[in-house]
């Protein structure tokens, strides 16, 4: 039932086509790309999260009931996935056959683990659960059963007795009796025998789920019943009808009689449960291992060796949880099963004592592997995030490394990744993602987008870069691009000095446009004296001051003019060796014009201030 891993490995394909020259797409985890399995991953993610968030304070029975429900939910998800695969197989979409059998095996194992570990059924209910388990999973006989039941006169069907045997082997007494009654009515000669057998079957004591009887009571009743059956058999009551006789032998737990019906049971674990039903109905969990081992040996009879599935089930019967997980990990090609099962068992507090030598415990190791596999998928990486969150030791580190490698194809995806990082205070990653997006935006000339990314990351350096870009554009073109952005910077202006300068500079232009010259002048001066303006821009600012200086009306006061002059001197004095600066005609003309304008303004303003008192 379980297939070795190498069929899924990319390397096997290389061996199959040695001489062709192709490029192989190597995928880390092949299974996650199967379409129908995606539902499994998503639904189980929901269940996983629910389990992590569930209250740990619930103790005892209610907690156990909760955990059993979680286990049932997982199983129903597996079954739903199997159904989808069946349908897909019918429509011939994809490699479904293989997967259906693997899923079915997974559900079988999980169900057994639920009975033995999660629910930890005790002697009595244990048998009932195992019976349910067998009835649910051994379905090879279903079609035969259906065929007989739906025929006109079932008792005449050649497989009639097979079906009765199946019912008896699975402990389905009512159904067996129902079929037998048909035989009895068809064959009045055996009415006597039938009545006795029917009576025996009706009276058979079975464990009950409620607390209506203790184990000792059950054992007593069962002993009585067993002796009664024995008597009837030895009296030769059923001698004339070999079928009924064999049924009686089965009821007595005769191993040979049961083994005769090997084909109807199909598996050794069915044999095990039937044996237990008819010889040790009050079996205790810890006794299972002995019966399991002997059942397997008897059933396989040395003809065939146990398959991986058999070994896993055996490990479960022996209550070797770690062995179960280890075997499953080896056989299955995807970490999904072992990761979720181990997590559940850990919540049942069954795995606490075992620490692996490399530090983290088994649950965490498996979850990390599973989540890493998810991260290699283009879409399922989002599920992986939550799994890493619940790995206390290494989860965060893994997440930090993986999340940086998610390709950011659109802004929306980047926003989602960013939100994940912010919620977990991963500041490094936030900065790095915002920088990537801002650079992309900058290269595409989307200055507003770039600014919005740097605001998100509170990245002052980048904001400075963007502002420099704006200023460069202004110097080149003589006007501002993207006025809607600069005019509406709001408090984000304070993110970086350069950005503040940009905003204020634009405000200066606006004031000038609105002819509010005095305010504009004040602002201009503040920009220079408060050292908000970068040195490279001072020349431009001074040049902007020219029209203000040349106005008919005197705008700059004496103080302000002195300041301006000082700025100009600072600027020119700072470059005495720069030949270029002095040889450049335009620059020297500018400087001269400025000096002239400043001097003229100073003259006018001194006169003005001297003439009118306090104006």
């Amino acid at each position: 039932l379980c297939f070795p891993c190498c069929t899924h490995s990319p390397y096997s394909q290389a061996f199959l086509t040695p001489s062709s020259s192709r490029v192989f797409v190597v995928r880390r985890d092949q299974d996650i790309y199967i379409h129908t399995l995606r539902k499994l991953f998503n639904e189980s993610h929901g269940i996983f999260m629910g389990l992590q968030r569930s209250e740990e304070e619930l103790a005892g029975k209610s907690r156990k009931a909760q955990l059993v429900q979680v286990s049932k939910n997982y199983r129903s998800v597996i079954r739903a996935c199997m159904e989808d695969m069946h349908q897909a197989a019918a429509l011939k979409l994809g490699p479904a056959f293989l997967q259906v059998s693997i899923l079915s095996a997974m559900e079988l194992i999980w169900n057994l683990c639920e009975i033995l570990f999660v629910e930890a059924a005790t002697a009595g209910p244990l048998l009932l659960r195992l019976l349910d388990w067998v009835r649910l999973h051994v379905c090879d006989v279903d079609s035969m059963v259906r065929e007989v039941l739906s025929s006109e006169s079932p008792s005449k069907h050649k497989l009639f007795w097979n079906v009765v045997d199946v019912f008896v082997l699975q402990g389905r007494m009512d159904e067996a009796r129902h079929l037998l009654s048909k035989e009895a009515s068809a064959n009045p000669a055996s009415m006597n025998m039938y009545k006795i057998l029917d009576d025996l079957m009706k009276k058979m004591p079975v464990p009950s789920l409620g607390n209506t009887q203790t184990l000792t009571e059950l054992e007593l009743k069962w002993q009585h019943w067993h002796e009664e059956c024995q008597r009837y058999l030895q009296d030769g009551t059923f001698a004339s009808n070999p079928h009924m006789e064999s049924i009686c032998k089965i009821l007595l737990g005769d191993e040979d009689a049961i083994l005769e019906k090997k084909e109807l049971m199909t598996t050794w674990y069915h044999f095990l449960v039937t044996r237990l039903l008819y010889s040790h109905p009050t079996v205790k969990p810890m006794e299972l291992r002995f019966y399991a081992q002997s059942s397997m040996d008897l059933f396989l009879g040395g003809e065939s060796s146990p398959e991986p599935l058999d070994l896993i089930l055996m490990a479960a019967f022996e209550f070797e949880m770690h062995q179960v997980i280890k075997e499953c990990s080896i056989v299955l090609s995807n970490w999904w099963f072992v990761a979720h099962l181990t997590d559940l068992l850990d919540h049942c507090k069954l795995l606490q004592s075992h620490n692996l030598y490399f530090g983290s415990n088994m649950r965490e190791f498996l979850l990390l592997e599973y989540a890493s596999g998810l991260f290699s998928h283009h879409s399922l990486w989002q599920l992986g995030v939550d799994y890493f969150d619940h790995c206390p030791q290494f989860g965060r580190v893994y997440l930090e490394l993986h999340i940086e490698r998610v390709p950011l194809s659109t802004e929306q995806k980047a926003l989602k990744v960013l939100r994940i990082c912010e919620q977990r205070q991963m500041h490094e990653q936030v900065r790095s993602i915002c920088k990537i997006m801002a650079m992309k935006a900058l290269r595409n000339n989307r200055l507003g987008s770039a600014l919005s990314w740097s605001i998100r990351a509170k990245d002052a350096a980048f904001a400075t870069l963007i502002s420099d870009r704006f200023l460069k554009d202004y110097c080149e073109k003589g006007c501002f691009s993207d006025l809607d952005l600069i005019d509406n910077l709001g408090p984000s202006m304070l993110l970086s000095d350069r950005l503040t300068f940009l905003g204020k500079y634009r405000e200066f232009h606006r004031l000038y446009g609105e002819k509010r010259f005095a305010e504009a002048a004040r602002l201009l001066l503040t920009l220079m004296t408060a050292h908000i303006a970068p040195c490279s821009f001072w020349m431009t600012l001074l040049t902007d001051a020219l029209p203000l200086l040349e106005q008919k009306e005197v705008i700059f006061s004496a103080e302000q003019t002195y300041e301006l002059m000082r700025c100009l001197e600072d600027l020119t004095a700072g470059n005495p060796d720069k030949q270029k600066f002095q040889d450049d005609d335009v620059e020297t003309t500018k400087v001269e014009m400025l000096r002239l304008a400043l001097a003229r303004n100073l003259a006018r303003v001194i006169v003005k201030e001297g003439t009118v008192e306090g104006s």
Binding site: R38, M49, H378
Partner: protein
């Protein structure tokens, strides 16, 4: 919540939209479209919401949505809107805008028309020069699209080229667009501005700009009140719901602290605008109810939203000023309900029509609630 049917669909859903009902329809909507994202093979799918009480194809009682048809789509589905009963316009992350036609006789989808480079960046360093088209809105036959390139396009369904393009309409990314009037549109961008554009005018400037006070938080979605055109709702990156009155002021009338993460979509209920729905990255979907008399359930809505009947009932109780604009908390009770009991991953999209709600999540599932007001 028993009326919510869920279906896991093996693809992350970025948009869900109900197919609009014909004008005189009495029954609730039953067909919706979904778009996926983040897949190597993205798809547009048309679903039937299933019949309540009837056994569907698989004998399901609660009418789980089942797939009618789907078609492959190049790039993530960024936005989607039905143009009419048969055609749906889809915006792609590759910058392409496509009209798909749903053939109802044989249940297939085909691409009717495509505008291949509706949105693009000029720089050749980027992958293919394409910029994601982030929003699309239709008013048959006009289609307006906006994108990450800050461009606004106006298309007509039957014309090959764009009727009008406003290049560099915005220096940041335009996240969503909606019609204000037949000739005016509203856009929101990633520096927190709401802009009105008058398409009749030839100049490439917005006629009005609104912005949030304080931090320029990016705005992701916008919707206009169906009856009172001056009321606009926007959702921001910090999960804040803002209600604006565009007749007055440049700042929002009210700011409601809603979600803990980006609000992806905001919708006024088209026939009962006292109800507003928002969905968010934090995995929740909120129903905002400002109908003043909360106890009286509007049962008229079951019959496909007979708004006249509802108005005659409600004018007795409601004042003329919409409850959305009133900021007196003592007078008007707003009831807010989170419609998702176990939230995990982001709810990317929702749509509401009549008594039906559909939403899609990053957990690869779609949910349909057909008795929203029961």
């Amino acid at each position: 919540m028993e009326d919510v049917s869920a279906k896991f669909v093996s693809q992350k859903i970025s948009r869900t939209r109900w197919r609009p009902l014909p004008a005189a329809a009495l029954q609730p909507p039953d067909v919706f479209a979904t778009g996926s994202w983040d897949n190597e093979d993205n798809r547009i799918s048309i679903w039937s919401a299933g019949d309540l009480g009837n056994a569907g194809l698989n004998g399901e009682y609660h009418g789980e949505p089942h797939l009618l048809c789907d078609i492959q789509h190049n790039g993530d589905v960024m936005d989607m809107q039905f143009l009419d009963q048969e055609r749906i316009v889809v915006a792609s992350s590759t910058g392409t805008v496509t009209i798909f036609r749903h053939h109802q006789n044989n249940q297939t989808l085909s691409a009717d028309h495509r505008w291949a480079k509706a949105h693009y960046h000029v720089d050749q360093d980027t992958s293919c020069g394409g910029a994601a088209c982030t929003g699309v809105v239709c008013n048959n036959p006009e289609i307006v699209t906006v994108g990450e390139d800050g461009r606004i396009n106006l298309f007509r369904a039957d014309q090959k080229d764009a009727v009008r393009t406003i290049d560099n309409a915005d220096s940041s990314t335009l996240h969503a667009v909606t019609f204000l009037r037949t000739t005016e549109i509203l856009t929101v961008n990633s520096i927190g501005q709401l802009k009105i554009w008058d398409l009749r005018q030839q100049r490439n400037e917005p006629s009005q700009i609104f912005s949030l006070a304080g931090d320029r938080v990016p705005l992701h979605c916008v919707d206009r009140h169906p009856n009172q055109q001056h009321i606009v709702a926007t959702g921001g990156q910090d999960g804040m719901l803002s209600i604006w009155d565009i007749r007055q002021g440049t700042m929002p009338v009210s700011l409601l602290n809603a979600h803990e993460a980006e609000m992806w979509e905001v919708h006024f209920h088209p026939s009962d605008p006292d109800h507003l729905f928002t969905c968010s990255e934090d995995g929740s979907l909120w129903h905002w109810d400002t109908s003043t008399n909360v106890s009286e359930k509007p049962s008229f809505l079951h019959q496909g939203g007979r708004s006249t009947a509802y108005l005659s009932h409600s004018t007795m109780n409601q004042s003329v000023v919409s409850a959305w604009l009133s900021n007196d908390p003592t007078k008007d009770r707003m009831e807010i309900t989170n419609l998702i009991p176990n939230q995990t991953l982001s709810v990317n999209s929702l749509d509401v029509l009549g008594p039906c709600l559909v939403y899609g999540t990053d957990a690869e599932a779609i949910y349909v609630n057909r008795q929203l007001f029961a």
